[in-house]
């Protein structure tokens, strides 16, 4: 089996990977669909079970959506992939800004963020200008945004407003732009297989999050930071990280890493992703909302995209830079 897989060209290998994932998703979806046909009997337990199933089907729909996006990104080539992630960053930033009150004076800075910074950052990623790509937002944009705000001549809550905007740019644009950048890293003997690296990152981080979520429900431990998150506790966090890293080690054969290195890289990505998610939860609490999408009263049109990609936004840059530093790329 392994011999056969190795004999395939990189393109065929990635294609096979997608085939396997789509197959698994089809089976799970079919089972979930059949389960909904089960008659709903009396009793609170059964109702709860159905609610759980509904929740699970929602999660499944998200997974389908994400897998299809990754598939399109891979099938259409790196250029389209970069544009696709730029669009995701655009929508995520739109959600972020909607829930962070801005004033009139921020208008020009917002225009700058959406229509100048975002395209330039993704263009830098797409054209592999990795040196400038790394410092463009933290160094140059860091200065440009407050300058534009200051020229707008409105000192009211100046630091707070700018901090929010900088944060939105860092998380949504800078973080997200590292996913397509991963596709363009040049490893020796790894040409054409970079899609595996993105898959590795997403799969490991998502597994860590899902395991953490499931363990939390089973263990019912008191939350470690109850004011920020009702579910976060250290024990299930450790278990999530452990499972994610271990899985990363197992998946080393699809990455350019040795098993030990893959384990370490997965560990770094999981820690960054899950803690980033916690940080975003704190931000949401600060804004008085439970999720970036629906469920909140007066903000609509948002579908909670940011809730789904926030772990990735934090994990991708850390992962990218660890890999680049360690392998001297």
């Amino acid at each position: 089996m392994n011999q056969f897989l190795r004999s395939l060209t990189p393109t065929q290998q990635v294609g096979a990977l997608f085939l396997i994932i789509f197959g698994i998703l089809v089976i799970i979806s079919a089972v979930a669909f059949l389960l909904t046909l089960r008659e709903q009997r009396e009793g609170a337990h059964d109702a709860a079970w159905h609610a759980e199933l509904k929740n699970f089907r929602k999660l499944l729909a998200t997974s389908w959506f994400m897998v299809v996006i990754f598939w399109v990104a891979w099938a259409a080539g790196e250029g389209v992939a970069t544009v696709l992630f730029a669009l995701i960053a655009f929508f995520a930033l739109r959600e972020f800004i909607t829930l962070s009150p801005t004033r009139r004076g921020d208008h020009r800075s917002l225009v700058l963020a959406f229509f100048v910074v975002l395209p330039i950052q993704f263009w830098l990623a797409g054209t592999e200008h990795f040196d400038l790509f790394t410092v463009f937002i933290p160094v140059y944009v860091f200065l440009a945004i407050p300058v534009v705000s200051a020229i707008a001549d409105d000192p009211e809550r100046f630091l707070e407003r700018n901090a929010k905007l900088q944060w939105g740019i860092m998380v949504c644009i800078y973080g997200m732009s590292h996913v397509p950048a991963l596709l363009l890293l040049d490893f020796r003997n790894y040409q054409g297989k970079n899609a595996f690296l993105v898959f590795f990152l997403v799969f490991v981080v998502q597994t860590c999050m899902v395991v953490q979520h499931l363990v939390t429900r089973k263990l019912k431990r008191p939350p470690s930071a109850p004011n920020v998150s009702k579910s976060f506790n250290w024990r299930s966090w450790f278990i999530g990280i452990g499972v994610g890293s271990f899985l990363g080690g197992l998946l080393s054969f699809i990455t350019p890493f040795k098993p030990g290195q893959a384990l370490a890289m997965a560990f770094v990505a999981c820690v960054a992703g899950s803690l980033g998610h916690l940080v975003m939860k704190a931000l949401k609490r600060d804004r008085g909302v439970t999720s970036w999408g629906k469920g909140r009263l007066s903000v609509t049109g948002a579908n909670g995209l940011l809730d789904r990609v926030d772990a990735l936004c934090f994990a991708a840059p850390v992962f990218f830079h660890s890999v680049r530093w360690y392998f001297g790329l």
Binding site: I97, T98, S298, V299, T300, G301, A302
Partner: protein
């Protein structure tokens, strides 16, 4: 053009319509909403479903929307707007264009504040809404709250910024028999404000 504009508005603002209190239905209606930006008209136009967009005519301030050929073209060709003068000229009834539109069977969108507000709450409503209701008692009055539009394009800016906006449509209100003008207008205003927190 109208499809392109629609796509652009969706991309920038989401332009989501939320129907609370009444379904989107092809009956003759007067939608009345809060007014914070010239883009309000565009927003509510984009939020209506395709079938209603064709039979609903927004009100546009003549002085602003006829200033350049492009604005004039877009309000007539795309929005099919009804122009009203914000300043009264001579004896002619400023509501006459609206009455004409209603007589011909179209629905209309009006902003009873008369002018754009910058405050949290809408300003007191002008009496136009009351007179129209008296003259067309069969037309259904639907309140609407437009959220966030002023952040997309504040006064004096040219480039819009992507921020999610929504239009909330509420339960229709009716002019009660014998209801005073001021009381009715205040009730209508409260119906609009109530939609802010739905």
């Amino acid at each position: 053009m109208s499809l392109f504009l629609l796509g652009l508005i969706r991309l920038l603002t989401g332009a989501q319509a939320r129907w609370y209190g009444c379904p989107p239905k092809a009956e003759q209606r007067i939608y009345f909403a809060n007014h914070q930006s010239h883009a309000d008209l565009v927003m509510i136009w984009a939020a209506l479903p395709q079938e209603l967009r064709g039979i609903t005519r927004p009100i546009a301030a003549r002085d602003y929307w006829t200033k350049t050929p492009f604005k004039q073209w877009i309000t007539t060709a795309v929005f099919n707007a009804v122009y009203v003068d914000r300043e009264r000229k001579g004896d002619e009834d400023p509501l006459q264009p609206l009455a004409d539109a209603l007589t011909s069977g179209d629905s209309i969108i009006i902003f009873p504040e008369g002018t754009r507000g910058n405050a949290e709450e809408p300003q007191p409503f002008k009496s136009g809404l009351y007179s129209l209701t008296q003259r067309f008692p069969d037309v259904v009055l639907v309140p609407a709250w437009i959220n966030n539009v002023q952040r997309v394009m504040p006064k004096g800016e040219v480039v819009p910024v992507p921020i999610l906006c929504s239009v909330t449509f509420g339960a229709p209100i009716k002019l009660e028999p014998g209801e005073e003008r001021r009381a009715f207008l205040d009730r209508a205003r409260l119906a609009v404000i109530a939609l802010r927190d739905v």
